[in-house]
């Protein structure tokens, strides 16, 4: 579903970025992407979402090259940033309608999904209000609903659980599992290692823009240990090299 080959991206005038990163996210995968602040997680996710360009390497989504077919790749992808800056001058329903129009979701399809996800996140009653009146968590819920409207094959999430109440977090986890059961894939960054360990079947660790470990959760997390201890060990080992 998502293949990243030797991806390199650096910001002008800054040492930050990612170097030679390669990953393979298959259909059905819930892939966690973990690393310290400034490690290059968000940069990677933004490159996949088509927000940032990159210098070298290749990103393939659903078999298509992102650089050659950006629109086709974006059509099957949904991205939710860590701080969803949505159009505050629109109401929730206007925003969802806008996204549905862009992704060509039918009138019946959008109505059904907005009702379903809106009720699950208990946000339906607020959809007629301006987004500027929403709390951070409500904006996050709205962004998740908008991401699910066109039934994406690949979901890219940047810290999706930040700001969500416990019930909404459970709903999101359910949605993620359902999407993967139906053949979709999820690649998401998180600092909550317990969630990653329980929810994901694969994990990748990044430090200073370089991939330092990746694979199935069983491969990476050895018997009797936790993802947190492995992460600390790997990060510190690489740091002292």
């Amino acid at each position: 579903m998502l293949i990243i080959n030797h991806l390199t991206k650096h910001y002008k005038g800054s040492s930050k970025g990612i170097s030679d990163l390669s990953l393979h996210v298959r259909p059905g995968d819930i892939y966690a992407f973990i690393g310290h602040n400034g490690a290059g997680k968000t940069t990677t996710l933004k490159c996949i979402a088509g927000i940032h360009d990159y210098e070298t390497g290749e990103i393939r989504i659903g078999g298509r090259n992102l650089r050659e077919n950006p629109l086709a790749c974006k059509q099957v992808t949904a991205y939710i940033p860590d701080n969803p800056d949505l159009y505050e001058y629109l109401t929730g329903i206007q925003y969802l309608n806008f996204i549905a129009d862009i992704f060509k979701v039918s009138a019946e399809g959008r109505k059904e999904r907005i009702k379903k996800y809106g009720d699950e996140f208990e946000i339906t009653a607020s959809l007629g209000d301006l987004i500027s009146s929403y709390s951070h968590g409500m904006k996050q819920k709205l962004a998740i609903i908008s991401a699910m409207l066109h039934e994406p094959k690949l979901l890219i999430l940047d810290e999706p659980f930040v700001g969500l109440d416990p019930k909404a977090a459970v709903v999101l986890k359910g949605m993620m599992r359902k999407l993967c059961d139906s053949g979709g894939a999820i690649f998401f960054s998180t600092h909550v290692l317990e969630v990653a360990e329980k929810l994901c079947n694969k994990v990748a660790m990044v430090k200073d823009g370089r991939l330092i470990a990746s694979g199935s959760m069983e491969e990476v997390v050895e018997q009797g240990r936790t993802l947190e201890s492995i992460f600390m060990e790997v990060v510190n080992d690489v740091g002292t090299d």
Binding site: Y11, K12, G13, S14, K46, A49, G50, I51, H52, D53, P70, L71, A72, K74, Q75, Y79, P81, D85, L86, Y87, E88, Y89, L90, G92, I93, Q94, N97, F98, A100, D101, I102, F103, K104, V105, S106, A107, R110, K111, I114, K115, G118, T124, A125, S126, L127, G128, D129, L130, S132, S133
Partner: protein, 533 residues
Amino acid sequence: MSAQISLEQIKIMTGLELCNLFGINVLRFSKDARAKKRAVMLSVLWAFLIIMMLFYMGGLSYGLVRLGAEDEVISCLIAVSSILIFIFGILKAGSHMFRIQGFDMISALPVTKGVIVISRFLRMYTENILLTGLVLIPGIAVYAWSVRPGATFYLNAFLGIWSVPLLPMTGAILAGALVSGISARMRHKSLAASALTLLLAFAVMFGSSRLTAMEGMESMEIIAELSGMVSAVLEDCYPPAVWLGTAIVKGEFSRCLMYTGMFLAVFAAAAAIVSACFQSICRNLHTTAAKHDYQVGELKADSALTSLCRKEFRRYVSSSIYVSNTLIGPIMGCIISGALLFTGPERIKEILPVPVDLAGIAPFLLAGTFCMMTTAATSVSMEGKNWWLVKSLPLPTKTILDAKILMNLILVLPFYLLSEVFLILALRPGIQEGFWLAVIPVVILLFACIYGITINLHFPVMDWENEVSVVKQSASAILGGMGGAVLAVLGGAGACVVPGGCSGGYEAVLCVLILGVAWLLYRKNNRMDLRGI
């Protein structure tokens, strides 16, 4: 005002307000080479505009001296700078004084609201001092060169520069507070604020137009009586300009000091009034009502372009500063066309100093007003922190930019139609003249929109804190927003100068040229990779 206001706090808060004035702090510390390059280019542009302004004001002063009105030079320039400060002030006072960015954080600090108000006043004062200096210094130099006044003149002029902004700025802030206060109580706050701001700005503009109204006099009479007339008109429109100007010219230091004290007292009183209602206006202005009663009903599917256009329009009406800055031109176009109809072209021809083919230059005049400040020129920058969303959508650059151009064209359409009706009724043009009257404004406006997008794509400002920095101070607003207006002025001048300029051939060649350049820019824009912004 609270007695707890400390000078130390004012100093700290004003320092915070001023540290990024004109983007200096970002320029100093940014590591983004591209952002630095843009900032340098913007500085060059500002330097060019400043030099133009200095020459213009110097020329105006020299003209007055040559006509024997040297004693009115300073008063006249005080009036000019006061009008500029007032008009620009009311257009941005509300969004500057009562801006929400950082408000919560600052409110939580152990500083009084008086300190916040004073620091914001001082920021505006600093900007206005610079404007006053630009207007007054050339006049002071020209006056000093021609009259050779004593040392007291320079002392008074120095004091004058510091005191001139106080009154118009106070007026602008109070007007801005009034507009914000009234609109804060309304449901559609931004639209109400835009309408009130535009109303005030037009009231001032038409009031100040009396400065040049010298109807019913022959030119020689005007020259002979100029000195007295300028003084009388200024006295009528803005007496403080004459009081202070006369005191400066006559070397009356005590009077200068007294006027400065008076202006300062008014300024302090206004700061106290704004301070008293500051928090309630801020809260009302930035609180969004939520009903929590929505039920999912029938939803309608639209094309991506329609949806984008609708979003652009909602973005536009959500910002009073955006509306008031960009709508002023089209409204002026309607007013000028209406004035031409109700005054009659013959009367206008009598007033004009040189014979002009009104039907020939009318389309350029109309285009000039419509393109005074296009929405397209700042539409990319106005996306601000939402830009990530646009970039992540499965849409080609062309569709995204088309929506921005369409939004601008649709916005001007009603003003265009009304102005065309007025002009056709007033000028009674023939078929050919009527054709160009209808086509030229559309061609120039279309060019202005595309050119505005081109400039904005090259000078984007996405990480802004206040819409003012995009709509009024960015390179896109200055370079892109006025491109069409400059073209209209050049086109109109060409129509007057080129032999047989208004016979159709000139217009046809001009339109083909403009459309050709617009097409090239349009293609270039649509090939742009938006991820680079």
